[in-house]
């Protein structure tokens, strides 16, 4: 009975992530390493954030609901900032690793481009944060009960799954934009990424008014996606070219795309 809900929600939340992992990451050991290490970095940031929140709750008056809610908001903001800080740390680490890889490579070119790293690390952040936000909901979705006896929305499970899906996408896009901005030292863009992450986090506080949180969140996801697409080198022209089935040649130089498997070198 409850298994249908469980699998439905799992596919919604992690279907895209699973497809991306299997088709673009799993084939390349280097990308797998970056994925796992990225997840680890995210976990460490979560550990720190939860420590800060836990200590602040311990030190505060636990019967003051208003204060506790404020602390939760504070904790969420701290967590967002920490996640972005760790994303930056991870970028630095990957840069160092990249230099090492260049010295090893035969033709003096790195075996993986910064854009690819950005995409994989973003996906890693997305998967692990998605897992952590939805795993206990999935555990309870198996049943036999469903949400609602206290008057909550019966669509709790499916909206949570969609939220998670958006979160996985958002992290992937943020990763791409963030690394690119770091690379080009565009601090304004960095600020925009952090702000949009903060906004996302803030939107979830609008739950259980799911219309109020889900719709803006998906709009945000779409726009961030478009931005990331452009950052990664996509354009309307390339979409057009892609749809018309022609290989694009001419004045632009081909690079390893974020999604392409590396060549034989």
């Amino acid at each position: 009975m409850g298994a249908a809900v469980f699998f439905g929600c799992t596919f919604i939340a992690f279907g895209p992530a699973l497809a991306l992992c299997l088709l673009t990451v799993a084939g390349d050991p280097l990308r797998v390493i970056i994925l796992v290490a990225g997840a680890f970095f995210w976990l460490v940031s979560l550990l720190l954030a939860s420590l800060i929140w836990f200590i602040s709750v311990q030190l505060s008056d636990r019967n003051d609901a208003q204060l506790q809610y404020g602390l939760l908001l504070f904790g969420a903001a701290v967590s967002v900032l920490l996640q972005e800080a760790f994303r930056f740390a991870y970028f630095k680490l990957l840069k160092k690793a990249d230099e090492g890889l260049v010295t090893l490579s035969e033709d003096g070119r790195p075996p993986i481009s910064i854009k690819q790293m950005a995409y994989v690390s973003g996906l890693a952040f997305g998967i692990i944060s998605g897992l952590f936000s939805v795993i206990n909901i999935l555990a309870d979705s198996i049943g036999p009960g469903t949400v609602g006896i206290h008057g909550d929305s019966p669509h709790y499970f499916i909206t949570s799954a969609f939220l998670t899906m958006a979160l996985v996408f958002l992290h992937t896009f943020w990763g791409t934009i963030f690394f690119d901005a770091c690379e080009k030292r565009r601090y304004g863009t960095l600020g925009l990424v952090v702000t949009s992450h903060l906004v996302t986090s803030g939107l979830t506080f609008l739950n259980p008014c799911y219309e109020a949180s889900l719709i803006p969140l998906f709009l945000l996801t779409l726009s961030t996606g478009a931005w990331a697409f452009v950052t990664a080198g996509g354009s309307l022209r390339s979409i057009h070219a892609c749809l018309s089935g022609k290989r694009k040649e001419g004045d632009s130089v081909m690079v390893y795309s974020a999604l392409q498997l590396p060549g034989e070198d």
Binding site: G8, Q83, S133, P144
Partner: protein, 679 residues
């Protein structure tokens, strides 16, 4: 997925620890997790309302049968339907479109007929019974019509005309529900507020307005009472013993019902040796326990309480007589545990006496007096039941004496039963089985049990106690003025309050050991025998008896704790509150008494004869959890929609990713100027 498996497959102990840490971690992580949003309370709390004040029908077994109830391993779930009238059950049995159902039964409808109907239906996955308040007027007994049949004295060789209640059906109201084996769980809802919550949920979601079919989501209930043992005591004890032989980590699957009998003597006797055969003892006995369908709840215990309170009051009264130490015969006050389950306590004591494992032997017993059901109704007449087969003549002396006592200035009349009627189910039968002992069973019923709940007054019980005490005094050869012996109605009142209303009262607090103060609660103790270790009721009877019959000594705490001897037992009790102290300090003291505990576990387990027909073989199954919760169930449609959406998204993801990945070189191009990235 891992988390789910972990929760479901973990074993009991490690599960709890892991569960706690997992919960902590989850709460911690979730709350701190920015993107994970602000659900600070667990998801489970959003879905389920646990029912905290429930009692469960569990599985018991004897040599041949299993009785009671159980759920499946993961609990039984069903849509709630409230049955308040007989007609309501039709919906559950045939009309309702959403089987299986869990029936919320009003207490008054918890009858044999109703349960038989539900039992036969495959559309029932469980029953929750709302406790009946006020109690049903007609009386209710889940016991059998012929209690403890086959374990009394009458059988094919001894008074065959009386065997199997041929002569008299003692408990006509007994519907035998207790001895039924149900394949679904049955829970008793003890808290009216919780019952109200369930009914409200039912009214909101499940109530068929004008016969229309209620729409999803529906209110459902899940009952967990999975039992480890199955079939019979023989099977489960064999499995348990097999495991303990071969397994490093044996898991017991059932335990024998056992506890302790409480006994004391008027004159101290040396418990380390056997009594000289010339010494005679008059044995007075009552039962402590009672049974009901639900584990650790025995609401029909009034009759047992009235009897043993009378017994305690009589013991106190006789101890106040001046010349008791010079009486020719001793008196033994005995309180048996587990009598409801084929005479566990009395059969063990009789067995021990026969095997010389008890300081008093069978030949020391001069006569036997048992207080049966004593709940005086309007007529204050007590009936003396005797055994028609043996020694009617032997008991004449006793009965005559009683008749004399009762006429002398008490409001209670004691009458003999003229006919040749069998003994009612009584502990006395177990002694009669081994040796012909003169004796009577005193009860308020002439024929069958008066099986309605009676509000007995303390005065009437004190009068009965007075009659008993005077008769005992004279039976023991007392030559003094028997009419000076008088039971105290105030003691009876205090005891009734403690045993029937709340054990946490100042008197009980002052008479028990400090380390037992945790057993006192704001409700009466359960009168179910349970498995091993003295249950609260046994402890309480022990310390009340010690207080009423013992003596206060001026020993210090150390002396008191170290001075248990062959003649007396010493107990260091809490004492009353210090009136001169503002803090809650107490004035503890040392009580010396002859009150002792002795094992009340069936000889069948001593002999490892698990299929015994002579001795009680009742065992209680082990279980992992007993709990109930309510929640909503979603419609199948919504579930399928979720699944379909999930699968569609999965497929789209794969197709899109494959497509984009294949065309990535076209899609993602970099303008020349920014092309020379880091390398």
């Amino acid at each position: 997925m891992a988390a789910i498996e972990e929760e479901e497959m973990g074993s009991s102990c490690s599960w709890r620890i892991r569960g706690v840490t997992e919960l902590l971690l989850r709460g911690l992580l979730l709350c701190a997790l920015a993107a994970g949003s602000g659900w600070c309370n667990s998801v489970e709390r959003k879905i389920y309302i646990p029912l905290n004040r429930t009692a469960t029908c569990v599985r018991l077994m004897n040599a041949t049968h299993q009785i009671g109830c159980q759920s499946s391993m993961n609990g039984d779930t069903g849509v709630i339907h409230v049955v308040e009238k007989q007609e309501d059950v039709q919906w559950v049995l045939s009309d309702g479109p959403h089987p299986p159902y869990i029936v919320l039964l009003d207490g008054e409808l918890f009858t044999r007929g109703m349960m038989d109907q539900l039992k036969e239906s495959p559309r029932i996955s469980g029953v929750a019974v709302a406790i009946a308040k006020p109690r049903p007027v007609k009386g209710f007994s889940p016991g059998s019509r012929c209690p403890n049949d086959g374990f009394g004295v009458y059988n094919s060789t001894y008074g065959p005309q009386y065997a199997h209640c041929n002569n008299m059906e003692w408990n006509p109201l007994g519907n035998g529900l207790f001895y039924e084996d149900f394949s679904f769980p049955i829970f008793l809802l003890q808290d009216e507020n919780e019952t109200e919550v369930i009914k409200q949920c039912y009214q909101t979601y499940n109530f068929p307005h004008n016969g229309s079919v209620p729409q999803y989501p529906l209110c459902a209930m899940q009952l967990f009472s999975h039992m480890h043992a199955v079939t019979s005591t023989v099977t489960c004890m064999r499995r348990t013993s097999l495991q303990s032989t071969f397994s490093i980590n044996p898991e017991v699957i059932c335990d024998p019902l056992s506890d302790y009998n409480v006994w004391s003597t008027l004159k101290p006797i040396n418990v380390s040796t056997n009594l000289n055969s010339t010494e005679k003892v008059i044995m007075v006995a009552t039962r402590i326990d009672s049974h009901s369908m639900f584990w650790n709840v025995a609401p029909g215990a009034e009759s047992a309480v009235a009897s043993f309170v009378t017994h305690l009051a009589a013991a106190e009264a006789i101890h106040k007589a001046p010349d008791i130490q010079t009486l020719p015969k001793n008196i033994m006050f005995t309180f048996f545990q587990g009598e409801s389950f084929d005479y566990i306590g009395s059969s063990r004591m009789a067995y021990d006496m026969q095997k010389n494992k008890f300081p008093i032997r069978l030949e020391n017993i001069d006569c036997f007096l048992e207080l049966g059901q004593i709940a005086l109704t309007n007529s204050s007449v007590l009936w003396m039941h005797t055994d028609p087969v043996s020694q009617k003549s032997l008991s004449v002396e006793v009965t005559n004496l009683f008749s004399r006592c009762s006429t002398s200035g008490t409001g209670v009349e004691v009458q003999e039963i003229g006919s040749t009627q069998a003994l009612p189910p009584s502990s006395f039968q177990r002694f009669l089985k081994l040796k012909e002992i003169p004796g009577v069973v005193l009860a308020d019923h002439k024929t069958s049990f008066q099986n309605n709940y009676v509000t007995e007054t303390a005065e009437s019980l004190a009068e009965v106690a007075t009659v008993v005490a005077r008769a005992l005094y004279q039976l023991a050869g007392g030559s003094g003025n028997a009419s000076a012996i008088q039971a105290d109605p105030r003691t009876v009142t205090r005891m009734l309050y403690g045993f029937l209303v709340r054990t946490n009262n100042s008197w009980f607090q002052s008479i028990i050991k400090p380390d037992l103060k945790g057993i006192l609660e704001n409700e009466p103790p359960p009168y179910y025998i349970a498995v091993s270790k003295p249950v609260n009721a046994t402890y309480l009877v022990h310390y009340v008896l010690a207080n009423l019959t013992g003596a206060v000594t001026n020993l210090t705490k150390e002396q008191c704790l170290n001075s248990d001897g062959d003649l007396y037992e010493y107990a260091w009790v809490q004492g009353p509150q210090d009136p001169n102290s503002t803090t809650s300090s107490r004035l503890p003291f040392c009580v010396r008494s002859t009150v002792r505990l002795t094992s009340a576990s069936s000889p069948a387990f001593e002999l490892q004869d698990w299929g015994s027909t002579q001795y009680s073989t009742w065992t209680e199954s082990r279980w992992k959890e007993l709990h109930a919760r309510i929640f909503l169930v979603a419609s199948r449609q919504l579930e399928i929609i979720t699944l379909v959406v999930g699968i569609v998204i999965l497929i789209i993801s794969f197709v899109a990713t494959y497509f984009i990945n294949a065309k990535a070189d076209v899609l993602f191009t970099t303008p020349r100027d920014s092309g020379a990235v880091a390398y």
